[in-house]
Symmetry: C2
Subunit: 467 residues, 2 copies
């Protein structure tokens, strides 16, 4: 009996060890295929340089959808299709401009300095003649509350600094981005006529960073812009210099923005599929979002996630891998200012009674991979954790609790589908996030490829062992 147990034990160990060896060998093949023959970088070059910006509703969106469908087909999808959804259609509407006008005490003429700004996504434009007014600088919402009686008729400048002391820069972003999201309405509540927000970044340059704002319908919608960090510091210095002199200059900020919404229009999620050979009804989703802000090429956000998604499909086909389960490769629509694509994908899945066992998203930049974060039950997390030794040699040395992505969030909420997100190194991300320098040149081929390698390895393991 003891001998039998020992034999049983040894054969189980044998199977596990053999399985691990087999998995390790296959993951090495995935890695070699992607690092040597990968097409992600050239796909990204096309998406960023030939198509470029692709905000929901724009011509770039339409072009990128057609491109995405074609590349899914060329990469070997059993089936590639567009999933229609209505998307918001915000347009910038013209050139965003701002300048600080200064009339020194006793002077007749104004001195003018242009500031590098960009209107926030979803924000409304100034009147045709612009908005002009005194600027009040606040360091935080607390500061705003203290000075609420001074705000009326002025332009509120939220000079809230990105917190450099976080090692994971996404924590600094989460902390600072509330000023972009809530800042305009919280200032409008006290009668402000426009808002300037310090860009959510710790870059050494002066590029302003856009991103969606959210108006609270209880208050007036007022124009809102982000300002580059060097200009934010300069503006702050100018304002404070006046407070310290006995003969303060007159300072006025002038602002022209033109943002407005056109009627909702038709957009699409782009979906490629590899049909499962054993459990075709069990669906694994991997994706990124195809839309980008209008002021950049959207190379890291999220062209990278899109071409990595396609690369996994290409590599699986190149290796002749036939998945047990159905794998969906999805380029989601409208993550940046509506999330209509992610919502549509979950709604359709619900309507069709689909079984979604896992979803993975890459939407944190195309930098060198460092970790995966996962949202699921304890049991699911332990299974996920058991794969770490197989994937760690390729970059993701940490497997953490909590993760996913905006586009796959609705799937998690609808089905409790476990979700995971690829976490590349975050140090450079907020240098380029939503700014004009989020361009192809900021992406490194090997870092991009390695992200795809780590994602492909995880998808392979989920496909093989379930979740």
């Amino acid at each position: 009996m003891r001998k039998l147990s020992l034999l049983l034990f040894l054969s189980i160990v044998g199977i596990v060890v053999f399985g691990q060896k087999e998995d390790s060998a296959f993951i090495k093949r995935i890695s070699d295929e992607i690092l040597v023959n990968g097409k992600a970088y050239e796909n990204l070059r096309h998406l960023t340089k030939k198509i470029g910006a692709r905000l929901a509703g724009s011509q770039g969106m339409v072009k990128s959808e057609h491109w995405g469908l074609k590349v899914m087909q060329e990469s070997g999808a059993d089936k590639a299709y567009m999933q229609e959804c209505m998307v918001p259609h915000w347009v910038r509407g013209g050139e965003d401009r701002a300048s600080l006008k200064k009339k020194p005490s006793g002077a007749i003429d104004w001195i003018r300095k242009d500031l590098d700004i960009v209107a926030l996504g979803n924000s409304i434009g100034s009147e045709k003649n612009g908005i002009s007014g005194e600027v009040i600088e606040v360091k935080s919402f607390d500061d705003l509350e203290k000075r609420k009686d001074e705000v009326k008729g002025k332009i509120v400048f939220y000079n809230y600094k990105f917190n450099d002391t976080y090692i994971n820069t996404f924590l600094a972003y989460r902390d600072a981005s509330q000023y972009r999201g809530q800042g305009p309405s919280r200032a409008a509540k006290y009668g402000a006529k426009a808002v300037i927000v310090r860009s959510m970044s710790h870059a050494t340059d002066n590029n302003p960073h856009t991103g969606a704002t959210r108006y609270d319908s209880n208050y007036a919608k007022i124009p809102a812009v982000a300002i580059g960090l060097r200009d934010a510091d300069w503006l702050s210095t100018e304002i404070n210099a006046q407070a310290e002199t006995t003969k303060p200059a007159q300072l006025e900020l002038e602002l022209f923005t033109h943002g407005h919404f056109l009627p909702d229009t038709i957009g699409h999620n782009i979906i490629g599929e590899l049909k499962g050979t054993q459990f075709p009804a069990e669906i694994i989703t991997v994706g990124g979002h195809l839309d980008s802000w209008d002021n950049c090429e959207g190379a890291h956000d999220d062209g990278a996630g899109c071409v990595q998604t396609i690369e996994i499909l290409r590599a699986f086909k190149a290796l002749g891998y036939q998945p047990k389960r159905t794998i969906r490769f999805v380029l989601f629509a409208n993550e940046e200012n509506g999330l209509r694509g992610g919502n549509k994908y979950a709604d359709e899945a619900k309507a069709k009674g689909e079984k979604h066992i896992f979803a993975l998203e890459s939407d944190a930049g195309g930098f060198t991979p460092r970790s995966f974060g996962m949202t699921g039950t304890e049991e699911q997390f332990q299974k996920f954790l058991s794969w770490k030794p197989l994937i760690a040699p390729y970059g993701c040395t940490e497997f953490n609790r909590g993760g996913g992505g905006a586009d796959i969030g609705p799937l998690n909420r609808a089905f409790k589908t476990p979700t995971a997100g690829l976490n590349p190194d975050s140090q450079r991300y907020f240098d380029i996030h939503h700014a004009r320098n989020d361009v192809f040149e900021a992406v490194n081929k090997r870092e991009l490829d390695l992200g795809a390698v780590n994602m492909a390895a995880l998808i392979y393991l989920v496909d093989k062992y379930g979740m």
Copy 2:
């Protein structure tokens, strides 16, 4: 008795836990100081943009030495000084040029295409009128041996590819760089008159990468250059196209280089010191090398290591940290083509009977920190490993066996001093290594700072607990 043991046990645990909390808190202070007030990036800007290239013997070397001494003093060294050593003085001597001349079958005129090349460091120049000859492409040393009878009087083109399948790119470098080091003499052995080496890189651009070659005194010294990757591929295609046609064109490569040695000259290690308060005789060394190749700003190689070294000194002083042991902050001379600085430092230490307990080097780029490698006894390694939980939150999540740096190698050989090296993410390093694009702009402020944070944390722990 059992109660006493328990008390003893609890108080030991208490001390350890308290110690860890204290260490963790101090490392957080180091991190905040460097991330918020760090000067490494601005120091690097000065070193790269105001001084620039600084190969041993050059004017740049002299300027950077004076700068280094001044910054050590300003950063709060108890003592800052120059340690003299003789350094080799190789000069490029002029503009490196190469072109492929092609005369199609039956044609009268040559067609000429310039190639992007750079002479290898320490290599000799062509004669004044250049070198011209037929090119023979070999894929490896094995290939060379097979075709040794064809080599005489020709220019050998080592088209050995950087192996993309390594995740740690330094392994690909170690593999490929033998062609730069040994290639010229191994070709000269069979009568080659010059050598072209495919650059040791997997970059997507065409910049050629230099680096030292080593002539074997048994064979003739012949000119040797590295060629950019796109031109290497193009050259290979041209050569092979001729082999496949019945009417091959005549192909000749023309090469002009001007490298030569001037007499050895005086260089210096730049040393800043914080004197130990408890064990001043025990010395901890941390450093990078101040010299760089002449064709670039040497921002990552190794300006980064230098400014990180200085930053640790600055941060310790800013925090009022008084080390138990003596810490030496060293900018080494002449790592690139002689290692005279590192050798001098160990020789002096030996002559003075110094006690060197630990040395740390940063010479693998200023990218985001990922791991430390350490060379020492098993006991020393275990101690080192025990500090991983304290440092991992700042980036170095892996502590591996084996590591150090070229400049601190002599210290290890002289005293068996345990050594460690900072290993930043390696994906981008060989895009810029020894090439004209190793410039300030390729360095990210936060990645550079985080390298200094991890190094400072390790030095703090070695100082506190010994090694």
